[in-house]
């Protein structure tokens, strides 16, 4: 049997050690990994903001809305040990969603430029057809008059 005084000091030492472990454990987990998650969320949030500003043509409204919801879902989980896996999954989904948003915005912009270029080409094509028809008719008329005048080359 352990003497009472000795038992008290053993318990105290064990409690102190447990507190230290917990404290350092928390720091290790919440400080390192939690910090990394927080930084990742911050970066993704900045990226999301950029896309929101860039999406003037509403090409990725649904995905941006979804990304907003994922960001809001992730925020309270940062630093919570029990939510670590769920947070990782949410951030993964947020990252994939933002990549898709970026791709959609770039595609919409390229498609819009292509449509504008096609419209311009079609306008010129149509004008060319009209001018050619008119020029053909005028030249025909001119040839007839030249015959009538009997002179022109």
């Amino acid at each position: 049997m352990v003497p009472s005084r000795s038992r008290k000091s053993s318990l105290g030492a064990a409690a102190l050690a447990a507190m230290l472990v917990l404290a350092t454990g928390n720091v290790a987990i919440g400080g390192d990994d939690g910090g990394a998650d927080d930084a990742r969320l911050q970066n993704l949030s900045v990226e999301l903001k950029k896309h929101e500003v860039a999406d003037t043509s509403h090409a990725a409204t649904a995905e941006i809305g979804k990304a907003e919801a994922l960001k809001d879902k992730a925020r309270p989980m940062v630093g919570e040990r029990k939510d670590r896996e769920a947070l990782a999954r949410t951030l993964d989904e947020l990252e994939a969603t933002l990549s898709l948003v970026e791709a959609k915005l770039a595609h919409a912009a390229a498609k819009s430029k292509l449509d504008v270029a096609k419209a311009k080409r079609d306008d010129i094509k149509s004008e060319l057809a009209k001018v050619r028809t008119d020029a053909d008719a005028l030249e025909k008329q001119q040839a007839e008059l030249e015959k009538k005048l009997g002179g022109g080359k």
């Binding site: 999954r89 993964d92 989904e93 994939a96 969603t97 990549s99 898709l100 970026e102 791709a103 959609k104 770039a106 595609h107 390229a110 498609k111 430029k113 292509l114 270029a117 096609k118 311009k120 080409r121 010129i124 094509k125 004008e127 060319l128 001018v131 050619r132 008119d134 020029a135 005028l138 030249e139 008329q141 001119q142 008059l145 030249e146 009538k148 005048l149 009997g150 002179g151 022109g152 080359k153």
Partner: protein, 368 residues
């Protein structure tokens, strides 16, 4: 006993039954296995790598019958895949836009030609209308017929002058000739065939003078425009080659290719990876036979200057021989070794030295 067997069988059935694959996972599998899937991987390796990683996790979750995880990873795999696909579509749309822009430029030129034809025909018709209007109003005498004939000649001369843009490049002379023709027509309408004849002769002479005045400017404008258009087309063709950095320089278009040779000292054979680049350059050269090619070899500053000069010369010759083997006429090719004398980047850094070890192919309009 019977109940136990039934329970066991039901348990076994439930345990063995597989989770259905989500639609996104099936779609991903279908597209990933196609030839386009491999091409997409080459174009966007990082995104496809992410998609593949998520797909592997989805497969694992499927095996483990973890429905929620399966759906999560399948969805992520699909999103990464779509992200890559959309980026490829974006590239294709950008290329299509360039093609449409080229087509538009060609149509623009054709439109300018058609407008010129239209303008010329309209102007000639207006002048003719004035003459036609005289029909029946003037007597059919010898003098009148002579004047009419002179007016017709002046009319034809004006038409020829306008065909070389004399109304633009020799506007004053042309306008004076046109006014003379109108005066001639008016005189004939007033039964003054002598005046009409004299003015028609002046009009013809004026139109011919306007033509002479306009012709050099017209030819220069046409030739300059054609040269610019040709240079631009060449630049676009060169810029479209992977591994080539194209630039428009005084006198032509320059194509620079870095790291075309293996790093071994003295290596003068093009590395297999860069052969496709030079094959495409040869194709462009064949499509632009009106350009000569000056192939220059450049090295970084490491090593002996004389040896670098010899090496750059050998490499330039090696590229020339390669282009000739691809069908570029040897008399269009000139090779030069420049050694380390013309660096384009800092030789103190690895990246700079890499940029300096290059082959430059200068396309120069041929004087032939």
């Amino acid at each position: 006993m019977k109940r136990a067997i039934i329970s066991f069988a039901a348990f076994a059935l439930v345990s063995c039954s597989r989770l259905p694959k989500p639609a996104e996972m099936q779609q991903f599998e279908g597209e990933r296995k196609a030839r386009e899937g491999e091409e997409l991987k080459l174009e966007h390796p990082d995104l496809v790598k992410n998609a593949d990683a998520q797909y592997q996790k989805a497969v694992q979750a499927h095996d483990d019958k973890e429905k929620e995880l399966l759906e999560h990873h399948a969805h992520l795999a699909w999103m990464w895949w779509q992200s890559a696909s959309l980026r490829r579509d974006t590239r294709e749309a950008t290329e299509a836009e360039k093609d449409v822009a080229k087509e538009t430029a060609q149509l623009d030129r054709e439109l300018a030609e058609a407008k010129k034809r239209q303008k010329l025909a309209k102007a000639t018709l207006d002048r003719m209308a004035q003459i036609i209007a005289l029909e029946g109003k003037v007597s059919d005498s010898q003098e009148v017929n002579t004047a009419k004939s002179a007016i017709n000649e002046a009319l034809a001369a004006l038409k020829e002058a306008q065909a070389v843009d004399a109304d633009v490049h020799a506007s004053a002379t042309f306008a004076a000739a046109e006014a003379k023709l109108k005066a001639a027509t008016d005189s004939l309408g007033k039964n003054k065939p002598k005046d009409a004849l004299s003015m028609a002769i002046d009009a013809k002479a004026g139109a011919e003078a306007a033509k002479r005045e306009a012709e050099p400017k017209y030819s220069t404008t046409e030739a300059d425009q054609a040269k610019l258009t040709r240079n631009k087309a060449l630049f676009d063709a060169v810029a479209g080659i992977s591994g080539v950095s194209a630039s428009q320089v005084a006198g032509g278009v320059q194509a620079a290719v870095v790291e075309a040779f293996s790093s071994g000292a003295g290596a003068v054979t093009i590395v297999p990876m860069m052969e496709a680049t030079f094959i495409k350059l040869a194709e462009v050269a064949k499509n632009f036979p009106d350009y000569g090619l000056v192939v220059e070899g450049h090295t970084d500053s490491k090593g002996n200057k004389t040896k670098n000069l010899q090496l750059s010369d050998s490499r330039a010759k090696s590229v020339s021989a390669f282009l000739a083997a691809q069908g570029v006429a040897p008399d269009r090719l000139t090779s030069l070794g420049k050694g380390s004398a013309e660096p384009v980047a800092d030789n103190k850094t690895k990246d700079g030295r890499s940029k300096n070890r290059r082959i430059e192919v200068l396309f120069v309009p041929s004087s032939k």
